[in-house]
Subunit: 137 residues, 2 copies
DNA sequence: TTCTCTGCAAACGCTTTGCACGGAT
DNA sequence: ATCCGTGCAAAGCGTTTGCAGAGAA
């Protein structure tokens, strides 16, 4: 039993080959893949894998706290197996999404009394270091 | 010529009755309406108004800096005619979206060197004052 | 056998596009 | 007469749902 299989089983999810591989691919990347990205990445080794299974599996991961959804400006939903609190920076030139650290404490919103924040998300759009200075370097 | 008509004309947009009314309804609310919301709100007075026109018009407003798009956790796109910088709080119980003040300066993300943020968005999900303490008051 | 998982196909909700009519310049 | 604006209908995209067959327990 692999580590990932044990992890899934520990959350009450049967560690099917599909689920294990979807989790492994998701956890191995920092590219914040969409469902489609994951499906494409797995096509070579699992040519019969259906998008439905990817969607189903990702939905289970979200419910079980194994992954977080990343909503970026009306784009397709992306997923992240890194459960640490962090912000996301999307480069408007190359489209890549980068993490950056942030403690929720330092971005505490100035809400009216009685409002209870449960989730604080910080998102940036701009130019990444690679795209901002193409002539330097 | 009304104030709104002049505003639209000043941006090079012909102040048709539809456009003027869409802008007026958008500017008069703090509810961050979706295209569908605006279309519904205008049905009584403009029963022939099409959704397409609402979408077209809102797209022009965005392009001309007359409104801002609000992307909330995979929900339908909402619009805001308030161009001031502010965060959005969505109550997960009642679904309402509230503004809260924030200067981008106080939420400056800790990005790696070379990254150039152009837009910083802070979004919260939680319970609003009305839903957080239903028994008090 | 029973129950979950899988995956095809169809439906779905929001948004965009193609196109033709109509009204303004 | 020429444009731009409008609005119907259809397409598009990401995602969800219905259902039947496959596979594990």
């Amino acid at each position: 039993m692999t580590k990932v299989a044990a992890l899934l089983e520990g959350r009450g999810l049967r560690p099917s080959h599909q689920r294990v591989r979807i989790y492994e691919v998701l956890a191995a990347t920092k590219a914040h893949p969409s469902a489609e990205d994951l499906w494409q990445a797995l096509q070579p080794e699992l040519p019969t894998l259906s998008r439905t299974t990817v969607y189903n599996t990702l939905a289970s991961f979200l419910g079980l706290g194994l992954a977080k959804p990343i909503y970026i400006q009306g784009e397709e939903l992306r997923y992240d197996a890194d459960m640490e609190s962090h912000g996301h920076f999307r480069c408007r030139s190359c489209g890549r999404v980068y993490d950056f650290p942030f403690g929720e404490a330092e971005y505490r919103p100035r809400l009216d009394p009685g409002f209870v924040p449960e989730l604080v998300q910080l998102a940036c759009v701009g130019l990444c270091s690679g795209c901002a200075k193409p002539r330097e370097g």
